[in-house]
């Protein structure tokens, strides 16, 4: 596919171009963010005052389940992966990912997973077990109907996509780096993408297994979580959180990576302590596998277990703190240009710290006995998930938007968006700390008068509306820029990494000629005094020059292909069939098999033209 800009639905269905797949991921992920956001709004409406009956209990339970599940799996993850897709190949000087068709496949199964989950809405069968679906509440005896099956199957199928994506990016980053791009020269976002890919590969299988157990218990009468048969329902909690905790770091580390690239850019200063920031990321990921029990302190696993996992959890504060302090040190003595991206970056440092600190309060097992399953926890994780992940993603959005579209967003509207979001976050979620400590359990569709919770909940609800408001300048900004945005040029922010050497938007082959790298922050090479050079850098050399407009020799790019879509459709059919139609499952299996073989025997790379 050499015709630079193929258009039309067909070209989107068959695309294997990482930049287009990134756009697909972003649009779908953002749509899910809005949907889940609306669900959050409805939750807040119900809780605005005590004993309201705006939502009935069952609907409320379905809403917070859908809200949490959607936000984590169908908004957070895809938005993260959208950035992996767009940025990583550009930052390492590659023309695409290692397996372009696998990349497309990952997107399609993710999309189908999300659509499948939301098919439960028109059918009025939304899952209602909470996003971690504790057994035995979720076994057929207490959760009849298909609700929980929608949850299980949707996460199983989209999990396949996640694992495929992790595989793809791990190989891409290990294998597709431009000549001279050693590990210690990789931009921080690429580093975090590498770590997160590994996390995905190691964290999802246990969840997959847990979901399969749950599916079998529900559909085939097995006894994995059946106390009466000698099993222990707590095993589900272990399997979920063995995955669940790494999952939250899957959501935060990319945000950390984005911020670690943006803060230096807008401080005009190279990252302070690059190796330490990288290593602390690795450490966070590693420790993340040894702390899962901190979600289960009230289960009664005994003093030794709680002490060990409490201690391990506290440790994570250290590498995270290192990142925070290194970011501040990067800004120290810099020339801070407060473009929107920079505001979101600084906003992340400010608000994530609050969430992190409440996390540390949880990490003390006895103290957590008064916090767990209350709004104190809800406050914690919204501070880290919004003040961390969402702010980080918006930061990246404002940073790379010009690169992706070739247009500049409007700064004024951007700033309005930031300040509204920043205000909303604190107004909505800070009061929840008090609500929690004053005795408000989470997942309660109402609360009694006279517990002293009314005022805090009212403030939270008001904050949620400011949140919705904060999307107005964003949407307006997009619309305006789409109508008439100034051209961006190659490197509007005077940033230091490879993606800024090529055109905005980049040609489908990314780089006319693969750049050679001989240092970190190659584009800043002229400004960096020798004594400030990192180990990664070599004296002399030259910054990679601006990419030529036309490739010197013809570039062979991967062919578009239908088969990833076919394969994904096959898996979707199997999933739907699993709701109760063996025939459909088998048919799906057939389609999957056909897709697989056709894929295997289709030549991945085309010659020029056609």
């Amino acid at each position: 596919m050499t015709d630079a800009h193929p258009t039309g639905i067909r070209s989107w269905l068959t695309t294997v171009d990482h930049k287009r797949i990134a756009i697909l991921y972003f649009v779908v992920g953002f749509a899910f963010l809005l949907i889940a956001g609306v669900e959050g709004q409805l939750i807040r409406l119900q809780l605005a005052a005590p004993e309201r009956s705006f939502l009935d209990p069952d609907l409320y339970n379905q809403l917070f389940t859908m809200h949490g599940t959607t936000m984590v799996f169908f908004a957070g993850m895809p938005l993260v992966v959208a950035f992996f897709n767009f940025v990583v190949p550009l930052q390492i000087g590659a023309r695409d990912v290692a397996f372009p068709r696998l990349n497309a496949f990952s997107f399609w199964v993710f999309l189908f997973g999300g659509l499948f989950l939301y098919a439960s809405v028109p059918l009025r069968m939304m899952p209602d077990g909470g996003w971690f679906a504790y057994m035995p509440l979720t076994n057929p005896e207490y959760s009849p109907g298909l609700g929980i099956d929608f949850y299980v199957l949707a996460l199983l199928i989209s999990g396949v996509g996640s694992i495929a994506g992790g595989l793809n990016f791990l190989v891409t980053i290990l294998n597709m780096r431009a000549p001279g791009m050693t590990f210690m020269r990789m931009p921080l976002f690429t580093w975090m993408a590498l770590i997160v890919s590994a996390l995905i590969l190691l964290a999802f299988p246990p969840f997959t297994v847990g979901l399969i157990f749950m599916l079998f218990d529900r559909r085939f009468g097995t006894h994995f979580f059946d106390a009466a048969a000698g099993a222990d329902p707590v095993l589900w909690q272990h399997l979920f959180w063995v995955f669940g905790h790494p999952e939250v770091y899957i959501l935060i580390l990319p945000a950390f990576g984005i911020v670690s690239d943006v803060i230096p850019t807008f401080s005009r200063k190279i990252l302070f302590g690059y190796p330490v920031v990288v290593f602390s990321g690795v450490l966070i990921a590693f420790l993340g596998f040894g702390v899962w029990v901190h979600h289960m302190f009230s289960v009664g696993l005994g003093p030794v277990v709680n002490a060990v996992f409490g201690g391990a959890t506290m440790l994570i504060a250290i590498p995270t703190g290192i990142k925070i302090f290194n970011w501040i040190a990067t800004m120290w003595g810099g020339r801070l240009r407060f473009r929107t991206a920079m505001l979101f970056a600084v906003g992340l440092v400010a608000t994530f710290t609050i969430g992190g600190l409440s996390g540390v309060m949880h990490s003390s097992p006895p103290a957590d006995l008064q916090q767990t399953d209350t709004y104190f926890v809800v406050a914690h994780f919204h501070y880290v998930l919004i003040g961390g992940t969402v702010f980080g993603l918006f930061c990246g959005f404002y940073h790379w938007f010009p690169k992706a579209t070739g247009r500049m967003l409007h700064e004024g509207l951007g700033k309005a968006h930031f300040w509204l979001a920043f205000l909303a976050l604190n107004v909505t979620f800070f009061p929840m700390h008090f609500a929690g400590l004053l005795g408000m359990p989470r997942r309660t569709y109402t609360y009694a008068e006279g517990l002293g919770l009314d005022v805090f909940n009212l403030i939270s609800t008001i904050g949620a509306f400011i949140f919705t408001l904060s999307f107005v300048p964003l949407v307006w900004n997009l619309w305006r820029t789409w109508r008439r945005g100034e051209a961006a040029g190659h490197n509007p922010w005077d940033a230091s990494t490879l993606e800024w050497t090529t055109a905005s938007p980049p040609p489908h082959y990314n780089f006319a000629e693969i750049p050679a790298v001989d240092r970190r922050d190659p584009l800043w090479h002229p400004y960096i005094e020798p004594e400030a050079r990192g180990e990664g850098d070599e004296p002399g050399g030259a910054a990679p020059r601006r990419q030529p407009d036309e490739p010197p020799e013809p570039v062979v790019m991967p062919n578009p292909s239908y088969w990833p879509l076919v394969l994904a459709v096959g898996m979707l059919l199997m999933t739907i069939g699993a709701l109760g139609s063996l025939g459909l499952t088998l048919f799906g299996l057939l389609v999957t098999a056909v897709g697989l073989f056709a894929w295997a025997f289709e030549p991945p790379f085309g010659e020029e033209a056609h």
Binding site: L174, L202, V242, V293
Partner: protein, 98 residues
């Protein structure tokens, strides 16, 4: 590429001898299992032999020995974290006495 690997990989004879060792170990495992006298130390012995077989296949049949550190690292991480989780969970569920 395949050419170069053809030389750098162990020869047929080596493969066969590895297979023989594996077979022998398996036979040994089953014998141990049936010898009453060894009952008290059965578990450690079996685990050791299991690990040995695991290592042999990985190193020679899967060529980790000759294929260099990157792949070994990846595999090692997988097995390490997995083992850690298995042992950790078993400990939490009181499978080691205590």
């Amino acid at each position: 590429m395949s050419r170069h690997s053809a030389e750098s990989h162990p020869s047929t004879r080596l493969y066969v001898s590895i297979a023989v060792i594996l077979a022998a170990l398996t036979a040994l495992e089953v014998m141990v299992f049936y010898i009453e006298a060894l009952a008290p130390v059965l578990i450690p012995i079996l685990l050791v032999m299991m690990a040995a077989k695991f290592a042999l296949v990985a190193m020679f049949f899967m060529h980790l020995k000759s294929d260099g550190p990157v792949l070994t690292a990846i595999f090692a991480w997988g097995t390490f974290i997995a083992t850690a989780i298995v042992v950790g969970l078993m400990a939490i569920f009181g499978k080691f006495g205590a």
